[in-house]
Symmetry: C2
Subunit: 409 residues, 2 copies
């Protein structure tokens, strides 16, 4: 059961001028489900992406890097679920390349103008011929309002499709930001088995796109964790079609540029949080905030130690205020000169620990009350500086084990 997350209303997902989406049933892993999506981009679109830090990155990730490195001019994204084409060596690379060649031939573009994405089981051979056979159906299906179907077509163990959309005015023109993502497991920073695709029709200086996609990822997908595993296939792509008719945005620090950045950040964060809300087996949505660090990096380090701890996560699943486990995670986060006698711990508004020990006024019932909520904020104050960081995570339940023990069956 996802935590406070329902399928998006297709009518609320605004089309992005210059993006058409078609989906098809390619039978890649299972018959009878949409498992292929093609995003066609109008000529002139700008595309930037960030990809997994996993050194065992999948064949499609290698090709994305290669194709984006070849210069601007991306005209299509080809996404399949059911098979990650990772851990597949040279053969996997050849198969991913073949799908780009096939789509490019049908669109009359060059293969490097296609970005391929795969998600699903690792170390299985990609049935590229099934993808190629389904391309005509996907292209025939292409439509501006295909976002909801795309959100479905990229799911793996997701139980709810994930999409978000915003509109704003820039220079009197309506600008749209719409995106989809998939996640579920193998989720942690840098990045998750997540695919995220966000498009805007805003005109924006192309050189702003690559730093912007990095910044958006750091504010969203790189702040979530489900099980601490970093996937081989994580990809987050930002598309600007420049078709909204606004005067091009040339800076993002203030005014309309800042408004666009805010809308993009909202969409990316909503998608990232949706991944956590629908984390494998999740029953709780937990924000871990660490304040009072010397720098943001050490705050993140502590936040992730808490968010990754199986003991902390099972306590949340049980609604058990066994909160010493949080202190233990703070202690092993790797800050060599941490002074435990300075630490404060809060659970929502409840002051649980102070100076490294149980707060004198803390009563178990208070912790119990908060632990029963579906959404909880853990806040730790290190009292050694002014920096902060927060990450989002979920609990660890029986269902996480069930889902991952059964994933291939």
């Amino acid at each position: 059961m996802p935590v406070n997350l329902t399928a998006p209303d297709p009518a609320a997902l605004h089309p992005v001028a210059g993006v058409e989406i078609g989906t098809a049933m390619a039978g890649i892993r299972k018959a009878g489900r949409r498992d292929l999506a093609v995003l066609r981009l109008a000529e002139g679109a700008s595309v930037a992406g960030v990809f997994t830090a996993n050194r065992f990155c999948a064949a499609p990730v290698l090709l994305c890097r290669e194709h984006l490195g070849a210069g601007q001019g991306i005209r299509a994204l080809l996404v399949n679920t059911g098979n990650a084409n990772a851990g597949t060596g040279e053969d996997g690379l050849a198969r991913a390349r073949a799908t780009c060649v096939a789509l490019a031939a049908r669109l009359g573009i060059a293969p490097w103008q296609v970005l391929p994405f795969s998600t699903g089981v690792i170390m299985e051979t990609l049935p590229h011929e099934r993808i190629e056979a389904a391309l005509p159906a996907a292209l025939a299906d292409a439509r501006a309002d295909g976002w909801a179907l795309a959100a479905e077509a990229i799911m793996t163990t997701d139980t709810v499709p994930k999409a978000a959309s915003r509109r704003l005015a820039i220079g009197g023109r309506t600008v749209t930001v719409t995106g989809v993502a998939k996640g579920a497991g193998m989720i942690r920073p840098n990045m998750a088995t997540m695919l995220g695709f966000v498009a805007t029709d805003a005109a924006i200086a192309p050189e702003l796109l690559q730093p912007l996609v990095r910044e958006l990822a750091d504010a969203s997908f790189n702040r979530i964790t489900i099980d601490g595993d970093t996937s081989t296939n994580d990809s987050f792509v930002l598309i600007a079609t420049h078709q909204a008719g606004n005067a091009p945005v040339t800076q993002l620090a203030g005014g309309e540029g800042a408004a666009l950045r805010a809308a993009l950040t909202e969409v990316a964060q909503q998608l990232a949080q949706a991944i956590v809300r629908d984390g494998e087996g999740a029953t709780k949505f937990i924000t871990v905030q660490v304040d009072g660090g010397r720098d943001a990096a050490e705050c993140r380090q502590v936040a992730y130690a808490i968010a990754h701890s199986p003991l902390v996560k099972t306590a949340f699943f049980a609604s058990d205020p066994n909160l010493g486990r949080i202190l233990a995670a703070v202690g092993y986060a790797g800050i060599a000169d941490l002074d435990q006698t300075l630490i404060d711990l809060f659970l929502d508004d409840v002051h649980v620990a102070t100076r490294g020990g149980r707060h004198p006024a803390y009563a178990e019932e208070q912790g119990q009350r908060v632990m029963k909520q579906p959404e909880i904020t853990v806040r730790v104050d290190l009292h050694r500086g002014a920096a902060s960081a927060s990450v989002w995570t979920c609990d660890l339940s029986y269902d996480y084990v069930r889902i991952n023990a059964d994933y291939r069956s």
Copy 2:
């Protein structure tokens, strides 16, 4: 169900001259179980220890460091289960100190000659008065053959007591090595919620003891992981009573010194492996061996990435040869210049992957056969150097979640 582990035969646990052990029921957390152990050491014993790297270390750990730092002369170890006295601030320290004072008064020694150890729930007030009230019973119970009872008295979620014993001849004298440990969860290097106590009656130069206990820990307790959590209380103590009558061992590199070191290593490794075999919810005992690294540190880093991955661990639980998850863990282990096209992966004798992709001769049935075994060796060859490292771990099962969600109830 522990993996290939049964309770030790008390008769096989040889007494160590100069060590007497008494246990008692102090009712620290639950009534009617042995939860207190006192190890009395004869005058002249040497003691060395290694303790948790967790910065949130527990009050008893702080006192152990303080008392061992006061010089040699330790005469008693006081161990309780049911309460970790961690995350308890100044008050916890005062309570731990009070138990040392009480035991010292009964034994006619100074408080700094007592080392205290606690394991159990974190951030709960230690009922030190119950410990003090039970001291007379524990001391009255003191006996040379108390090792099996000690192994029981220190258990938390352990399902099987853990002890090991060896005898060897040094200079015509019989020398004994006997030890006990507890573990179960919150187990990872540096170190586990583990307590380990190993004693020998061998005469050995006291200055050898501290480097030796570090070396033993690195070869045993620092090579295991269950859930990646590092406890606040981990302690491993080595005791030498010098009473066997052998000519003192003055070096450990060869001859009889090496034989003693080997016996101590065997006992420590048997105890460490017993902790994994009895890991919370464990159904499989897994050795992760990484070869071909540039140095042992990077091999350990890769081995722990595999051993900590919830996705890898749930696949082992399911006996599912979803082995791409192992490659994914190798990829995110943090070796920045790893070349995935060099990697070999073996499951026992089965060659699963080569050059970063599925081995052409690998068939799913082969992986399936090995995955069904209770003991499995995963071997990764990085092909970038000559170093190796191995760690021991277990799978992640429904029962891990159940145990940790219910721990305090």
